[in-house]
Symmetry: C2
Subunit: 351 residues, 2 copies
Amino acid sequence: MADEEKKFTDVNELGEFGLIDHVTKDLPHFQVSSVFGVGDDAAVIRSSRGTSFLATTDALVEGIHFDLTYTPLAHLGYKAVMVNLSDIYAMNGTPTQILVSLAFSSKYTVEAIEAIYDGIKAACKRHGVDIVGGDTTSAPRGMMISITAIGQVEQKKVTYRHEAKAGDLLCVSGDLGGAYLGLQLLEREKQVYLTDENAKPELEDFNYLVGRQLKPEARKDIIDMFAEAEFQPTSMIDISDGLASEVFHICTKSKIGALVEESKVPIHSQAEKLAFDFKLDPITCALSGGEDYELLFTADEKDLEKVRYMTDVSIIGKMVPADQGIRLLSSGGRLHTIKAQGWKHFQSPSS
Amino acid sequence: MADEEKKFTDVNELGEFGLIDHVTKDLPHFQVSSVFGVGDDAAVIRSSRGTSFLATTDALVEGIHFDLTYTPLAHLGYKAVMVNLSDIYAMNGTPTQILVSLAFSSKYTVEAIEAIYDGIKAACKRHGVDIVGGDTTSAPRGMMISITAIGQVEQKKVTYRHEAKAGDLLCVSGDLGGAYLGLQLLEREKQVYLTDENAKPELEDFNYLVGRQLKPEARKDIIDMFAEAEFQPTSMIDISDGLASEVFHICTKSKIGALVEESKVPIHSQAEKLAFDFKLDPITCALSGGEDYELLFTADEKDLEKVRYMTDVSIIGKMVPADQGIRLLSSGGRLHTIKAQGWKHFQSPSS
């Protein structure tokens, strides 16, 4: 027995969420200012009486999250900021500062780094956010952009993932599946280009979807609308990994179930059309596609009238007791259990 | 002229500091809470009346900042935290929270990530810092750990790089050059091991130096001592790139010069001995070696009596008017101009 070989565990056995849970479980807190740590879109750090800071970090890695064959560098910088601001909005907060950590190989020129920063600056200007720090370092290969966003929020307005309750309405902003389908299109045209350098990419009919993939916009307008309507969601999360995964997070953290109605899930007409071209089911793209950076939130039933008429917001289902599980009511009237995703989309060659 | 080929600029033409200056010059600030942005050890963000948050980010990249041939994973996690806490202390602040962004290839097992987190947690426990967030993602190759540290400081205690003045004393904590020489030793033993797998590494006589490289300790004790002595430096910076580079930063930002006395620069006896073995000049190791994570600070002349008897603090020179430049008075009595370093140490295969 003493000679038994030590067993090592492949990271994919745990998956992304399993690994994070595993290494961050039972983390002690030494600081009274740490109101909420790992396990939501952003950490909540008490500042003065009644207000808190929010902090979140997200990295984009070349070869995993982006392919420079079809990603303009300025778009990349813009997106790297947006995915972080989206996490601050998902806490019902206002982003105020970012720090940019950039590691890149010698194949990148000063002009390339300038282009990335042009995108970063454009994103910051649009959202009134300041670049207050960062780190610039070389890497043996490729590029990684890791951004930390800091925001502010009134303590009583903080919207977590864990406070949804059975009976709440399940709502989402914008439309879903578009970013994933935009990626499929870019990948297809890349393959065509690799076969024939003179081929012209056929992107015109699907400009909206390409934009959803390359230049997502964090939904500040939705948070502003909430404030104006004096509406506060009971829970909220941004859609980075796909609807299924985010519904799963809210349900798990809130210890309840959900019923999503397929016919209510907002899907853009271009997405419907392109999914058809690719022989994909549009609802599958919405559930598992990811990178839409829309806001998924739950609303108390008493707020139905506020939510019902909100611009660009759809009520797609309701929260139910835990024993009813997390299910999709298909347009055909059948009930399907929804499974969480996670690292899975990292294994696909297309993302 | 219209057909002239577009010229691209190699990043090394600007160097690390040049590139950062280039992309971050004239950054607008939209938020009143952004007290100080890019250009010091950490950003200063106003929280409540009289106190500010500090935020800083630093990344360690495999193949650039660490070599897993001789770096235990737990030490790596520990160091990744320390280099960030050091930046918070260098603002005269107290670190309170960190966010950890980890990107790694499939060669890393769950046990490897656990070991890194063990080091991260040990560092946090020692300094009373909470892990409040992060991002875990796959990478095509290698590993990168990007950490953001958040801290707090009374606004009137913030110690910048730009407020040193001619006549101030130049002081440093601990001893210098050790981390660099520890790295040279580890590199030498790695080469021996690559030639003969049965060779035993000869590290015993230089344990201190190996520890300086693999497991640096951010100088919380120095900041605590300042508070106890009711002493505030006029400027401060941590030594990550070597004494020369850090003196240069303080001088440039404060628009003054400096005179460093070689004979006063603290160098450990093991470092003296090993430098001799490697046919290196110990003062060169101290000036250009880097990674010592000691604190370099300036003190008003009126504080001479406070600083003179501080434990583990050396007065190594003084600040002078700008027109006298930045110079080293050698033990032989000759004056040498000190040049800034930067990315240079990244080009060496040994770091």
